[in-house]
């Protein structure tokens, strides 16, 4: 559906391929649920959120990845995507604290522009060992899913974040010009 916020916000396209959502995902920072596409300040997302996966079957395991496709800046995303968090083996009906944190949570600290931070949920067929990538930048969610046979994503959501005292987008820097 072209009205899907994930499509309109270009998450489907830049990070993910079109998928059908077959699971639900709730992201809570400081016990507040994040609305898809809303904006949060870096001070609000310093610590890892609680990501709840409602459901029925505790045997189903999920992998959660949090990426920033707009690193270092949305107009120049040379480091797309920057991996902020990777948790595997999350049982359904529980939350991310029950999973296996492969890549520890890194607080979003956007310096230039308004970045999107995307949570992607994959359903694991089996309890599998997933290895952390060598570095956080230039992570590719599609390739990662293909590598570990995770299949298409089952749920995703994103929020926007800019510098704490940001003016909303392009600023002039004496050295690098408008970014």
């Amino acid at each position: 559906m072209s009205r899907d916020p994930l499509v309109v916000g270009r998450v489907v396209g830049d990070v993910l391929d079109p998928f059908i959502r077959s699971a639900s995902l709730r992201v809570l920072y400081n016990n507040r649920e994040v609305t898809n596409g809303s904006e949060l300040k870096p001070s609000a997302v310093v610590h890892e959120p609680r990501v709840e996966i409602p459901g029925r079957d505790m045997r189903t395991l999920y992998t959660l990845a949090m990426v920033d496709p707009d690193a270092p800046s949305p107009s120049n995303p040379t480091k797309r995507e920057h991996l902020h968090w990777l948790v595997t083996d999350i049982p359904e009906t529980t939350n991310s604290s029950f999973g296996n944190e492969i890549v520890p949570y890194e607080s979003p600290r956007p310096t230039a522009g308004i970045h999107r931070f995307v949570f992607v949920l994959f359903r694991q067929e089996v309890r599998q060992t997933i290895y952390a990538p060598g570095w956080r930048q230039n992570f590719n969610t599609r390739d990662f899913a293909a590598l570990y046979n995770l299949g298409p994503p089952v749920a995703a959501m994103y929020f926007n974040c800019q510098r704490e005292n940001g003016c909303g987008g392009r600023r002039y820097h004496a050295v690098s010009g408008w970014t």
Binding site: S38, I114, H173
Partner: protein
Amino acid sequence: MWSSENAKHNNKKKNKSGHGSSSRIVSSSSARSSPSSASSILSQTPRRRTMEEMWKDITLATLHQETPLAPLLETTHSHPQHHHHHQLQLHRPHPTASPSFRTMILQDFLSGPCSTVSPASAAAAEHITLPPSPPPLPPTALTLKSGLELRYPAGGGGGGGGASGGAGSGGGSLVVNAHSRSSSNSNESRVNGQANKNGHGGSFMPSYFSDAVISPPSPAGLFSFCSKKRMMPEGPVVDGDRRYKRMIKNRESAARSRARKQAYTNELELEVAHLLEENAKLKKQQEELRMAMADQLPNRNALQRSTSAPF
């Protein structure tokens, strides 16, 4: 923050003063981006050569526009040395025409000598860039320029304000006050600048000029503006390309912003629909349960028979 706002002032001032001249804007951006390369290209001989060409072009171009400047041009044309640019700047024979002419000259001077493009193409580019300045522009350009220049020192001016301020502050002090009054807030400065432009008569502001306002400014470029010693490494052809890229980047940024807004709106609409549905369902459920409870509960208000005898 303050310094960046300052830079914004500089940017606007430079761009407004150089109405539509792409070489000027790019010259500032090129100065910003590659100061080291600018200094490395610095050399006496090529500067004079291309400068003569440039002078010729400017003479030809401005003769079309403003005839009163012809005598002045003849004089300067006979002395094709760069320091006579200073003379031209100081004389200011026509307050109405000279600001645009002067700024064009200066900017073109700054961009021309360092141009690595052949003189023929530079000349062509000069012709392209110069004609677009319409005749009604100079008077308003003067006021805008002085307004901008006075805004810059108000922001806490640096060296850049000096030379350009000295040149432009001659006329329109009243206008300057209006400008500085209207632009107290640095955040609104650009908006005010745009509004001021429109207020003076939107007709004289071509569309690409508004692009020029958004073009990259440069404190370094302003320094070269004042010191006249820094050379711009890129020619008018590359400058136009850079402006074009800037415009594209701005378009993309605007599109991202619209997408962001639309995505959030869509999400909220979806949520509202979902919540309304859930609410209706819950209310209906509650009603049904209430009815079921009422049916099952015995009516304790009615009288009941019970035994009271001990046997």
